[in-house]
Symmetry: D3
Subunit: 240 residues, 6 copies
C-alpha cells in the first residue's frame, strides 16, 4: 500500500525529533540514523520509500575501476532503477573513508525523480551535491572512489544504515537534523500523530516565548490541555 498523499505531505512538515518520540511510544527506540547529517542545512525536507543498496568490503580482483563498464553493476543499476519518490539508502557499514556516490550519480537520481539519498558512508563531490536542490544525507565528505573499500552487492534487500534497520518500502523522513526510519505499516498513523504533536509543540513554543513556565505546559496538565483544545478549535473554525 503506497504512502498516502496526506502522510507524504505531513512528513514534510514534522520534525525528526517529534517522530522519535512518537515511535518511542510504540516501543521503537532505534529509529534515528546515527552519525548521518544533511549535506546542507537548507535542503527541502526528505520523504520517501526506502530503496536500498548494500556494499560489502571490496576485493582487489573483483573491484577494479573497469567494473562500472558493466551497465548492470548494482550501484549503477540502483540509480537507474529506483522508482520516483523513493529514497536511495546505502549501507556502507559506517565506513566513510571512501565515497559511496558522487555528484553525477546524485544528479541523475534527482533527475529521475528520486526523493533523496541517505548513506552511512561518505559522498564525493560533496560541495557540488550540497548545492543541489535535493535532500542528501551522509556521514562526511570523502573524495576517494568507492571501489577502494566498497563492493556494491545487491539492491533492495533489508540493510542496516547508521545502526538502524531499513527494510525496502520503509518511510524515510529527513529534516535539518537528520533522518528517521518509519516501518511501512506504521507510516499512516505515525504521520497523523506527529502532525498533531508538532502543532502542539509549536503552540507551546509560542507560550514559552511569552514567558510561560514549562511546568504544567510541557507536558500539559489538564488546564493546559483545555486551553490548547480551545485554541485548536478556534484556529480550525477560523479556517472555515
Amino acid at each position: 500500500m503506497p504512502l498516502s498523499d496526506f502522510a507524504r505531505e505531513a512528513y514534510k512538515s514534522v520534525s525528526t525529533a517529534t517522530l522519535t518520540t512518537i515511535m518511542m511510544k510504540r516501543g521503537f527506540r532505534n529509529v534515528f540514523i546515527q552519525k548521518v547529517v544533511p549535506t546542507a542545512p537548507d535542503h527541502p525536507p526528505l520523504v520517501g520509500e526506502a530503496f536500498t543498496l548494500r556494499y560489502i568490503p571490496s576485493r582487489e580482483d573483483l573491484d577494479p575501476l573497469s567494473v562500472f563498464q558493466d551497465q548492470s553493476h548494482p550501484q549503477r543499476a540502483a540509480v537507474e532503477q529506483i522508482p520516483p519518490g523513493h529514497v536511495l539508502v546505502m549501507d556502507c557499514r559506517g565506513d566513510s573513508t571512501v565515497a559511496s556516490a558522487g555528484s553525477i550519480l546524485v544528479t541523475r537520481l534527482m533527475m529521475r525523480g528520486a526523493a533523496g539519498v541517505v548513506t552511512d558512508g561518505g559522498l564525493r563531490d560533496s560541495p557540488e551535491i550540497a548545492k543541489l536542490p535535493f535532500p542528501t544525507y551522509f556521514q562526511c565528505m570523502s573524495a576517494p572512489t568507492n571501489l577502494i573499500k566498497h563492493h556494491a552487492l545487491d539492491i533492495n534487500n533489508p540493510i542496516g544504515c547508521g545502526g538502524v534497520p531499513v527494510y525496502p518500502g520503509d518511510i524515510i523522513v529527513g529534516d535539518g537534523e537528520g533522518v528517521v526510519v518509519i516501518p511501512a505499516h506504521l507510516a499512516e498513523e505515525v504521520a497523523v500523530e506527529a502532525l498533531a504533536q508538532d502543532r502542539f509543540e509549536g503552540w507551546v513554543t509560542e507560550r514559552v516565548k511569552e514567558g510561560r513556565s514549562i511546568l504544567g505546559l510541557y507536558p500539559p496538565d489538564a488546564a493546559t490541555k483545555a486551553e490548547y483544545d480551545a485554541w485548536v478549535a478556534s484556529q480550525d473554525s477560523a479556517k472555515h
Copy 2:
C-alpha cells in the same frame, strides 16, 4: 563571591584559546571541553556560572515518557531553577546518540535569563536552537528523546563534561571555538590576565599583517615588549 561585572565583561571579549594558555601557566592542562562545539558560529559569547545537571544511563522501568509529568523531574527542575546569568552544563557521559534537551527547554532557559547551555551529548530541534540569539554548545544534532539513553539524576553536583571537571559556580566561557571552564576562585585574576594577553595578541596580529616576522615578536623579546608598552601607553592616554 559572585563574578564581578568587570570579569563578566572581560570574558565576553577574550578567546577560549587565550584562556587555555593563561590556565596552563597556573598548571591547569584540562580546561577545554572536548568534542563540544557551538550550534551556530555567530552566537553571542557565553559567560556565566555553572549550574549542573547529571544524567546516568536510563532504565526502561524508571524512564518511560510519562516521567515528565512529574514537575520535580530533575531535567525540568533544572530548567526552572537555574539562576539568571548561569549556564546549564549537562553531563551526558559523552553519549550523543540521543538528545539532552530540545528547543522548548532551551527557549525557556533563554527566557528565564540563563546565560547559555553546554552539553557533551546531543540536542534535538537543533536547527531551531541554532537560530536562537542564545549561546548553546553540543556534541552534535541528535533527534531521539533523551529518555532512550539518559536518566536525569541530580542538579548542581560536580560533574564531568567533555572530559573536564565542572563544579557548580565555576565560570563557563564560550566563543566560536568552544568552551572553557575556569575554577571560581581563579575567575577574577584569569579575566585580568586574559584581557591583557588578548590585547597584546591583537597588536601582534596587526604587526604580522604588516609583514613582520614572529621571531622576537611572539613571544616578544625586550625590544618588542618596550614597543608594545609604548603603544599601550599611547593608546591609553588617547582615551583620556
Copy 3:
C-alpha cells in the same frame, strides 16, 4: 624539479575526487587525508609542495610555555623557513584535543607566501583563521595550546598526516572536500590526466542535467566517447 606553472594552475581547477580516481589507476589507494576538512567552505583552492612539521607527544619538563622564547623552536622555525608556494603539513598523530597552530602563526604563513596549512590535529583561533583568504585544513577547532600534548620535533622529514604518507616536496592539493597528496614524480602527468577527466565529468554533468541516463554515458561507451570527442573538438576550435 619544481612543479610547472601548467600543473599548478591545473590543480587549482580539478577536484580531489577526480585526483583519487587518477591515482587509483596508478595503484595508489591511500592519497586522501582522512578526517581533515577545510576550516571554511569557500577558501581558494590549495596547491603547493609539502613542507612538513612533526610533533611527538609533549613531556612536562621539555615543553613549558617558555620554549617559544627559543627562536629556533621547530614550530616557529617552520613558519619562518617555509618557502613561498609551499604547504605546511603537520603530523599531530591525529590528536586534535589541542591545537597545532593559531591565527598569528597562520597569518604569518600567509604573509610569507605559503600556499596553505594542513594539520591532522586541531587549530586554535580557528574562527579567525577561517576568515583569512588562505586555504587551511584541520580536524576540528581546538583552543588548548599545543604544548599540552605536542612537542614540535623536526622539519621537513617524511611524516604521516591523516593516515597518508607525506614526503617533503609532494604536491598537496585541496578543495572544498579535503586534501590529496600526489607524489612529486607523478605531479605533472596526474595534472594532465585530471584536467581531462574533470573536463569530461563537467560535460557528463551537463548531459545528466538534460535528463540523460548514466548508462553508456558514465563511464562512456564508444558512441558517447565519439560524441564527447566531437564536442571537445568543437570547443577547442571555437577558442581559436
Copy 4:
C-alpha cells in the same frame, strides 16, 4: 529487603548469559556491563549488592597525591565503609587510561568481606589482583595512579558503569563472561527463573552432545517440554 540466601546461592550458579535473557523478557535490554571483563578466568562467582563510587575528571589543584592523607577521602572511605557481601562498583566514565584502584585497596576489600569489585576503568597491580581468590572485573590493566585522571566524588549514589545504570543495592552478578546488574526489586524472581532456565539449558546441552538437532529442542516444542518435565520429575524424585 536483603537478598535471600536462596537467591544469593542461585546467582552463584547461573550464567550472565541466562540473566540477560530473563531480563529481556521483562523489557530490560541494557543490563550487561559493556567492555568489562574478569581479571582472571577462574575466580569465584560474583554476587552482591552494589555499593557505588563515582569519579569525575580530576583537577590539578584538587587532586595532588597528598589527598589520600585525608582519611575521609571518598575512595578510601568507600573501601572502609562498604558492608560485607556488597560489591564495590566504580564509575570511571569508561576511562581506563589510569587505574581506579590497586592491589592494596582490593586486598583490603577482600579482607573486609566485600563480595567483589567492578570498574569500567583500569586497575593497577592487576597481575597481583588477578591472583587473589576474589572476583574482580575491569576494562584493562592500567598502571597510572587514578589521580592523574580521576577525582573520587561521592559514595553510594546512582551511577553508570559500562553504560548500565547501577543503583545502590542492585544485585551485581558476575561469571567468567562479565557482569550483569539486576534491579533490587526483581532480584528474587529473576533468581528463580534463571535457575530454572539454566537447569533446562544444561539438559539441552546434554541432548545436543548426544547429537540431537536444536530444532524443537531449543526452544522446546511441546514434545520436548514434556520430555524435559519428565526428566525433571525423575531427577527431583530421585533426590528424595
Copy 5:
C-alpha cells in the same frame, strides 16, 4: 570444485601470517579479519569453506524472543544446514555489545561436523565455548542475547566480517593469531606456496636460533637460497 585434501591439510599447518604475505604477492592486502581473536589459544587449527550468516540491526516488533520458535529462523537454519567441513562466518557489523551465538548452538555446530565458527560480534557462554575442542573466533565475550541488537537476515550471501569480504565457499583459515580469508579460486595454489614458505621460515628460525644474522638470510640471498635448497634436498631424500 571442493578444496583438495592436500590443501586442507596444508592449511592446518601454515600460519595466518604467512598467508597474508602470500596473498599480498597476489595483490590482496585485506584478507585478515580485524579485531577477531580465538576464544582459546590452544584450539585445533581452523580450515573450511565459508558458510555465511548476515545480521542487520534488530527491530523491537520483529525480534521478540519468540522468533526462535520458528524453526526456519535464519540463525537456527544456518546451524542445521551448514555442510560438514564448512565454517559458519557471521557478519555482525562489528557490533559485539550482544552475542551472535551461544554454547548450545556452537556445540550443535561441532556435533554436525562444521569446521568452526567466526564472528565479528560477541559470543555468549564463551567460557564454555572456549573449552570445546572446536575452533571458534570472536571479537569478545558478550552475554546479552543477540535479539537485542541483531536480526538474522539471510544465509550464504556474501558478507563483510571484520572488514574483510567473505564469499560463500571462500577458504577460511585460522590459527592462534586469527583468521584469514582465501578466495576459493586461489585456494590450491596459495596452499602450495604457503607450505613452502612456512617450511623455509621454520628453517630460518632454526638458523636464527643458532645466532645467524637475518641479513642475507631473511629474505635469502643467493648463497642462502642454495644452502636452503641443499637442506631441502637432503631432508626430502632422507624421507625416502
Copy 6:
C-alpha cells in the same frame, strides 16, 4: 651515562604502578604506554635503554615486498644494530591492523642480546613470540605483513609510542601490567625511590592481609611510619 647495574636490577623488581606514582611526584603524568600489553603474562621483566624505530604510512610504489632485499632497510637495520641491553621501541601510530615485526626478527633480537620489544602496533607470529623467554609488548596479535600499512623510516629518533614520548636512551621498564618510560636523566633517582616505595607497599600488603585498616596505614601516618622504620631497621640488621 649508562644505567647503573644497581638501577637496572632495581627496575627488574619494581612495578610499573609504583613507577607512575614516583613520576607523578616529579610532575610527569604521561609515562605509561597506553593500549600496550605483554604478549604473555609470565615473561621476565623488561629493563633497558630505548632504541627507536619509526614507521610512517606505507605507499604502494615505495613498499613492495622486495624492499626487504635491501639489507639497509631500516627495520632490518634496527634489528641488527640495536646495542645489547637495549629495547626496540616502535612507533606504529597506534595502528595494529598490520604487524610491526614477526617471530624471526624478534628471535634475532633476543639472540643479539636486546632487552625486549615494545610496539604500539601489532605483532605477527605472536603465539610463537609469546613463548620466547623474552619480554615483548604489543597492542594485539596481527598477522598481516607490515608493508601493507607501515613504511620503516628511521632509527633512533625521538618517537611517540602509545601516546608517550620516547627519546633514545630513555629507560624502558615493563612488568606484567605494561610499560613505563623513564627519562634517562631521572633513571637513577627514580630507581632508588621506587625500590623504597615497593618495599613499603609490600610491607603494607602484609599488614592488610593480617586484617588491618588502610586508614593511617596507606598512606602512613606518623605511628605507621615509625612502625615501618623499625621493621626496616630490624630487617636490614638481620641481613648483616
